[in-house]
């Protein structure tokens, strides 16, 4: 724990912007209080049970298409998102169920969305890879890797614009999550440049799980140390153990505070691992069993549980599982109806007048039969 902090301070000071790292020492020298610990634990357990349930439901045929599970990486999501407020934004990739849950979207809404039901957070129109929630500022859910990074940079841009041009009291930050494979994509570098240039309040979080489907990070990257790419663009680059939620949380606190103060972006590389394949269709044959076992031994949930019990922050009884929440979500999703036929043509445009002019020459939206759907489906 101490070694990581020293490394962290050195790396931050190594960049062109020196930061004073204030070490707040709680009186009892623990990193978290009991309440915080329980929040973190519950969030990670929710993420894990939810993803396990997704696998079960997929093999039973209730869920379909592409489903990418987050097992093993919970520390990153919980570590960062539990520090954010409701008005801060999160942008993710296709591996976004747990990011949505951590941000506050209800398990019911996410499960219904995965089942393709009308009660889902996107009414069944988005699916596993496109979790959007305006209320919780979960801005997606993108299928193309690297696509979310410019969108997140734009959301951070808006926060700065609101403060400087619209003169609103806005210190919202944006957290962009993406993987190691994305770090070889052009858009990533374009956004590192612009974020540092305009000092945008954004945190770029690399969930380096060493594998992009079957392509090992070491095979595809000339310099595999991703955190180094931050200082090349004028922002701090930090490497943290992504299997330890407390370490991730400490780094996240620094990065979020920096962004809120207007000092600009940070690049955080979290070394983590996904216990399952890339998606539920991935046979996962290329990864070494020994590597999997090594990371399974560093499971973030067992580590946090051990920390809480050893430091007398909670006992076994308080750390009971929350399976019932996930099971209730499944029941709710099962019982929900599928979207109606007329929903096919809705929401293409925010201004439906633009949907066109019907055969009688009037705007389609003025036609009383508009919501019945105009295509012969």
């Amino acid at each position: 724990m101490c070694l990581c902090r020293t490394l962290l301070i050195q790396q931050i000071r190594g960049s062109s912007n020196a930061i004073l790292v204030k070490e707040k020492k709680p009186t009892n020298s623990l990193l978290i209080t009991k309440e915080e610990g329980l929040v973190l634990y519950e969030d990670m357990i929710l993420g894990r049970s939810f993803e396990d349930m997704c696998a079960q439901m997929y093999y039973r045929g209730k869920m379909f298409g592409f489903v990418h599970l987050y097992n093993g990486q919970e520390a990153v999501s919980t570590g960062f998102i539990k520090l954010l407020t409701k008005s801060d934004s999160v942008v993710s990739t296709y591996r976004d169920h747990v990011h949505a849950l951590s941000k506050g979207v209800s398990a019911r809404a996410v499960m219904s969305e995965l089942f393709g039901k009308v009660t889902g957070c996107c009414r069944g129109q988005g699916g596993s890879m496109h979790m959007f929630s305006k209320e919780h500022n979960m801005l997606g859910g993108f299928a193309f890797i690297g696509e979310g990074i410019p969108v997140a940079t734009g959301a951070a841009f808006t926060s700065k614009y609101k403060r400087e041009v619209l003169k609103q009291d806005c210190d919202d930050v944006t957290v962009a999550f993406f993987g190691d494979g994305t770090c070889n994509n052009g858009q990533f570098y374009e956004c590192l440049n612009i974020a540092a240039l305009y000092k945008l309040p954004i945190i770029f979080v690399v969930e380096n799980n060493l594998w992009a489907i079957g392509m090992s990070h070491l095979r595809s990257t000339s310099d595999p140390e991703i955190w180094k790419k931050g200082p090349a663009f004028g922002m701090p680059g930090v490497h943290v153990d992504g299997m330890d939620v407390l370490k991730v949380r400490e780094v996240a606190k620094e990065a979020v505070t920096r962004a809120r103060r207007g000092e600009g972006p940070t690049l955080v590389e979290c070394e983590t691992y996904r216990f399952r394949g890339h998606s539920l269709a991935d046979p996962d044959e290329l990864r070494d069993a020994a590597e999997k076992a090594k990371y399974a031994a560093r499971d973030t949930i067992t580590a946090l549980k051990k920390y809480l019990i050893e430091n007398k922050l909670a006992n076994e009884g308080e750390l009971k599982k929350i399976d019932d929440l996930v099971e209730e979500a499944v029941e709710f999703a099962d019982a929900s109806p599928q979207p109606g036929r007329s929903q096919l043509l809705e929401n293409v445009f925010a201004d439906p007048k633009g949907f066109g002019i019907g055969p009688d020459g009037r705007y389609r939206c003025e036609d009383p039969k508009f919501t019945e759907g105009t295509a012969q489906v």
Partner: protein, 367 residues
């Protein structure tokens, strides 16, 4: 004139204020040099539209290469940096994918970006964001997140700029549900449609034309008013006629109007439709016109296969087949990447003679 009266009757209204205005516009544009009416270049029209929208709504900002200090690669954003400052007029690095995505993200979060592409050919480096994160978002999020963004810039062929700078993207963008695609011709079109686009809550692809920027058009007092907007999804009948319908958009409107003059000398009265809006396409106006004239010639500058003309022909054949007296005619650019040599370039683009020939072909077939 009678065409407009009949169309109003079809619309179910009598002489409403809007149809009166349409009548007046038709009269204004039929006269090229009306005494006492003002003229405005397309460039000034676009500049004034962006200026007025920026001053009316502080959430509107401009982003693109050379839009600020250089005053705009084609001077469309001239003077905006001095007026609004660098916080609202951003000179971006050469990062189409990056800044387009940033514009989309800013639109997600509530701002109204106007993203300029130096030419729409460069938008190909950013097309993922235009289509996947802008066009599809309102649908994917079931209406939670709309994207009030405008992508604008010159589209189509210029003069001698070669294959990689001359493609017309109307058909590509117009095939995507979730996008609105506009193509102005005159200064009034440019002003009205750009203002409507900036105010629109959906992503709009605004296809200008470099060769039209310097052209002057007469402009009415209404069009100079700061709340002037044209409706998205409605075409304009530039010239009334009764023998053949010719539809087109952008620079080709000028060519078609010249062709219509030539045809008039030979006794063929052509009805010229300026599409203005490629998506949504004003199928009602096109079909009503074809039902009146019974012949269709569609003209565009882009590649022929899967083009805008193909869609219009399909729509007319589907909806007005029994009214047609001749096969539908399609005039498009040549099916080759744009050559550089001036004479080859002229051969690769529709010229007035080609349009006249096609219209005559459409008229004589049934005789």
């Amino acid at each position: 004139m009678w065409g407009i009266l009949r169309r109003s009757a079809v619309d179910g209204g009598g002489f409403s204020a809007s149809s009166l205005r349409r009548t007046r516009f038709a009269l204004v544009s039929a006269r090229s040099y009306a005494a006492g009416s003002k003229e405005m270049t397309v460039r000034d029209a676009l500049n004034s539209a962006i200026d007025e929208e920026m001053s009316a709504d502080p959430k509107v900002f401009v982003m693109g290469e050379e839009v600020g200090q250089y005053q705009g690669a084609y001077k469309i954003t001239k003077g905006l940096l001095e007026k609004y400052g660098p916080e609202r007029v951003y000179d971006t690095p050469i990062t189409e994918a990056g800044f387009t995505g940033i514009g989309v993200g800013a639109a997600y979060a509530g701002l109204k970006p106007v993203v300029e592409f130096m030419t729409f050919n460069f938008s190909m480096q950013a097309i993922d964001h235009i289509i996947n994160s802008a066009a599809k978002s309102n649908y994917m999020s079931a209406g939670q997140i709309n994207v009030p963004i405008v992508f604008r810039g010159p589209n189509g062929a210029a003069a001698g700029v070669g294959a990689q700078h001359s493609q017309c993207y109307a058909a590509w963008y117009a095939s995507v549900p979730g996008l609105k695609v506009l193509a102005p011709y005159s200064a009034e079109d440019a002003r009205g449609l750009l203002k409507a686009a900036i105010r629109d809550p959906d992503p709009v692809v605004f296809l200008e034309n470099e060769l039209l920027y310097g052209e002057s058009f007469p402009i009415s007092e209404e069009a100079l008013d700061s709340s002037f907007c044209l409706p998205i999804g409605k075409a304009k009948i530039e010239r009334e006629g009764k023998d053949v319908t010719i539809t087109t958009f952008s620079k080709m409107v000028g060519f078609v109007l010249k062709a219509a003059e030539k045809l008039a000398e030979e006794g063929i009265s052509a009805e010229v439709i300026n599409l203005r809006s490629i998506r949504p396409l004003d199928r009602a106006t096109i079909n009503a016109s074809v039902r009146k004239t019974s012949r269709l010639v569609t003209v565009e500058e882009g590649f022929p296969q899967h083009g805008v003309c193909a869609e219009i022909c399909a729509s007319v054949v589907e909806e007005s087949f029994s009214y047609l007296d001749a096969p539908v005619e399609r005039i498009a650019g040549a099916d080759v990447p744009m050559p550089y040599a001036a004479n080859l370039e002229r051969l690769a683009l529709p010229q007035v003679e080609d349009i006249v020939r096609a219209a005559k072909r459409a008229c004589y077939r049934s005789k």
